[in-house]
Amino acid sequence: MVESPFLSDPVISIKGLRKSYGETEAVRGIDLEVNRGEVFAFLGPNGAGKTTTVEILEGYRKRSGGEVTVLGEDPERAGREWREQIGIVLQSGRLDPYLTVRESLDLYAGYFRNPRPTGDVIALIGLEGKADERASRLSGGQQRRLDVGMALVGDPELLFLDEPTTGFDPSARRQAWDVIAGLRDLGKTVFLTTHYMDEAQRLADRVTIIAAGEIVARGTPEDLGERASGETTIRYRADGREVVLRTQTPVQTLHELTANALAQGEALEGLEVTRPSLEDVYLELTASTEPAE
């Protein structure tokens, strides 16, 4: 076991991470920390540098600069002992079509020193009824759950999930979410990349948003919601033209607006007051940036 000396130590610590592919800078100096037992969402549009970052953390890619520590070790130099403690679900992986659910899990269980019993994993991923079905006969959502199961079978401390629900229909997404939400109850640390705001909101304790290789926002889903409440939009029509007001103090603005309207006998047709959703914050933060990957 590679135990970190203090429980409060971050499981993942990144300082000034950079990665270039030739002339292109995919990751431009990011810092972040992930604590033990939390579900951490790394959110951003396609090409923002999410997969590059997660593959550096997983030890698949070498970084161009900065410091990275995962479970107390540098992933570039970490060995077999370190791999006993991490589970990886790749963004686009296909399973062996000719092995059953149980066989796929047993195969992976053999790679680890202290695997979780296969039956437990099958229950965790909710595939009890499909245990002896070949992977090729599972639905897309079921295959993804088996994929997560294969990452869980080694009973890892830390789990990487790279866009686990991309391309799924709503019911398959919900099934995958239930499995991921269940991981928190097992006390696992989860590093989740996604480009779906609702996925991050639903699953994560903390969210960091990356765009064009740089971190543009971070916080709990609630923190980011606070940011969202910063500006309220008030719309109405006057003389057939639409009027849009943006305000930090909606109560006061509205009060003045309506008092004035009553005094003048105006109707304020189509009056509407909206606060931007988290989705709007996300879109605003990531819209102006060009993909770097």
Partner: protein
């Protein structure tokens, strides 16, 4: 698990996947058998003008065995490793504590076991249907040729994956290399029927030398059972394949 136990573990699942895959069962197991039956029935009773004249069926036993062994090793490995690589399964496996060589060793073990089974199966069919008995006194030479050939063609198959960009290209590239060589090396058409110079050209490649070594071991008429020069050339090809494989083999998908 220790390294060797892990290889055994990996091998068990590779065997399951191999026998459940209709493509591998057909091309690796059924195809050589069907080819042997057709050629044996068509040319039964005829003689081939090699080593003073031998039965055509006697000629085809080592010929089809060579093909079956190359198919079980080089062809099977090149195709299944490319599929596993492009599916992301090689990359995923590298994310576990399993040492990467275990994965390759499991696949190579699978290929060698299938090659050995094909040898036995073809020997039985040759004996029962065409009266071509296994020359028992030459069994050590046959097994030596099998081991050298299987190991060398495994290395060549692993090396070849580096030249195959996608799953779709795998079968095309492997067949485009091997099918002409089978023809030119006298595997499909007996060598006495081939124009002059063809065999000399085929001698530039390992398929002909492997067939030659197998032929020497299998056909009692002729020189020594162990054809050292042919085996040495096959082994050299194998070493070259190993060097290329170590240098160029990749674990991550080419596409995406």
């Amino acid at each position: 698990m220790s390294g060797l136990a892990l290889v055994g573990h990996q091998f068990r699942y590779d065997q399951k996947a191999f026998w459940r895959n209709p493509a591998s069962v057909f091309f690796t197991v059924m195809f050589p058998v069907i080819l042997f039956l057709i050629l044996g029935l068509v040319f039964n009773g005829e003689t081939v003008d090699v080593r003073g004249g031998i039965e055509a069926t006697t000629y085809y036993v080592p010929a089809i065995m060579s093909l079956a062994i190359i198919s079980a090793t080089m062809q099977t490995l090149a195709m299944t490793l490319v599929i596993a690589r492009e599916d992301g399964r090689l990359k995923r496996g590298r994310g576990t504590p399993m040492p990467p060589w275990v994965f390759i060793a499991g696949r190579v073990g699978n290929s060698i076991v299938v090659a050995l089974m094909m040898l036995v199966l073809l020997a039985i069919i040759g004996g029962l249907l065409f009266g071509v008995d296994l020359p028992w006194e030459r069994l050590p030479a046959i097994l030596l040729a099998l081991v050298v050939g299987a190991a060398s063609f495994c290395c060549l198959g692993i090396a070849l994956t580096a030249a195959i960009p996608s799953q779709d290209a795998a079968a095309a590239i492997v067949n485009a290399m091997l099918l002409p060589l089978y023809f030119l090396s006298g595997v499909f058409i007996p060598e006495d029927q081939l124009p002059d110079g063809v065999i000399a050209f085929a001698d530039l490649f390992p398929v002909r030398h492997f067939f030659d070594a197998f032929f020497d071991a299998y056909v009692p008429a002729g020189g020594p059972a162990v054809s050292w020069d042919n085996l040495a050339i096959v082994a050299l090809w194998g070493v070259a394949g190993l060097v290329l494989a170590i240098r160029y083999f990749r674990w991550t998908p080419r596409s995406g």
